[in-house]
């Protein structure tokens, strides 16, 4: 096959894979940033935003918590209509409502309100990124991974001349390989 024809096929493959996997790339990129920062400890949960508020409550009579007490506590934070359940452990009680909970230290009445906000879309992106779905999606994401390899390789040969892989492209490609290698050398 002639060089010119090969390059035409290369560019066509790169273009079409780029179109086909645009959606997957955006999903993995956005979810990747979220999971990266979640793993770095920048936020507490990848799918939910969380906010906390400290306050004080009156302790239950005799230290025994019942549903009436739990509802009374939730009414103080405007969540009594969303009550789910409560659990009493050694020295504490945690009262759950639809989108959060109140944790109470039963030794001193210190309470912490935790509220959750769903990160819609990002939550679904994370589901795909983690491959929680499994089944057929495992194969589809493998196909996507293989397409990424092809996209990377075909991308090297799109341009000819001084900006191509034998010119500026070679330097940038080398830098792109050296940077992760340096991270491995310094941090492992």
């Amino acid at each position: 096959m002639q060089r010119k024809t090969l390059r035409r096929w290369n560019n066509a493959l790169h273009r079409d894979l780029g179109y086909l996997f645009f959606g997957m790339t955006i999903i993995y990129a956005i979810s990747g940033i979220v999971l990266n920062h979640f793993k770095s400890g920048d936020f507490l949960h990848p799918d939910y935003g969380k906010s906390f508020k400290e306050f004080r409550v009156t302790l239950p009579p005799g230290g025994v918590v019942d549903k009436t007490y739990a509802l009374n506590i939730l009414s103080q934070v405007g969540e009594e209509e969303h009550y789910k359940s409560f659990v009493q452990g050694s020295g504490y009680v945690q009262i759950f409502f639809e989108k959060g909970s109140v944790y109470i230290d039963l030794t001193n009445g210190d309470a912490q309100l935790e509220k959750k906000t769903t990160r819609y879309v990002i939550k679904e992106f994370n589901l795909l990124h983690y491959n929680n779905i499994k089944k057929l999606y495992t194969w589809y994401s493998d196909v996507y991974a293989a397409a990424m390899i092809l996209l990377a390789i075909t991308g090297l040969f799109i341009l000819r001349g001084k900006n191509g892989i034998i010119g500026r492209g070679a330097w940038l490609t080398a830098i792109g390989i050296i940077i992760p290698a340096l991270f491995l050398i310094f941090y492992m």
Binding site: H45, S85, Q88, F96, I133, Y187
Partner: protein
């Protein structure tokens, strides 16, 4: 062009809905299933290893690293039953916390011996500790444990193993095949 795109979206939505319904229907068939309770789980679990079981409880915790585990309690947190997601379960969403659920699954036994503890200790001492290694207790903050806390946990398990007079400790969990949130 717009009509073609709408057609494609329609087909995708139909497939997603059809697949979801199929998996829910498949999950409703249960035979020869032993009923367990959270309160008696620790004392009765060894009777049901690798058998089909059903259990109900309140979700105390779900694993935030992909939602592969959740822990059930029953009023107090003195006994926590670990539930792991089987192949048909997408995840245990954080929104389940505080909800009562009914879980169907297979009871599994994990044996912890000296070799396991040695490997776990070696893993923790590496710069990047592996989250999946070790015993997940479901206690508040257990996922944010530092290396020192984990080493203390290993030391406690070594003591427990010594006291037991056996060559291993058994930890029981249920690999869920399906679950329902009870309203």
């Amino acid at each position: 062009m717009t009509r073609n795109l709408l057609f494609l979206f329609g087909i995708s939505l139909f497939l997603i809905t059809a697949c979801n319904n199929a998996s829910k229907e498949a999950a409703t068939v249960k035979n020869d299933t032993a009923t367990m309770t959270v309160a008696s789980f620790d004392t009765s679990a060894y009777n049901y290893v690798d058998k089909a079981v059903k259990i109900e409880g309140t979700v105390m915790h779900t694993c935030k690293h992909g939602g592969k585990r959740m822990f059930l309690i029953d009023g107090t947190d003195s006994i926590r039953v670990k539930i792991t997601a089987g192949p048909d379960i997408t995840k245990f969403d954080e929104a389940l916390i505080g909800s009562k659920v009914r879980v169907f699954g297979i009871l599994k036994e994990e044996r912890i011996d000296t070799k396991y503890l040695n490997e776990w200790e070696a893993e923790i001492k590496k710069p990047e500790a592996n989250h999946n290694v070790g015993v997940h207790s479901g206690a508040k903050g257990h996922e944010d444990q530092g290396a020192e806390d984990k080493l203390a946990q290993i030391s406690a398990l070594r003591d427990e193993l010594k006291k037991s007079g056996k060559d291993h400790l058994s930890f029981f969990s249920i690999e869920a095949t399906s679950f329902t949130e009870l309203k």
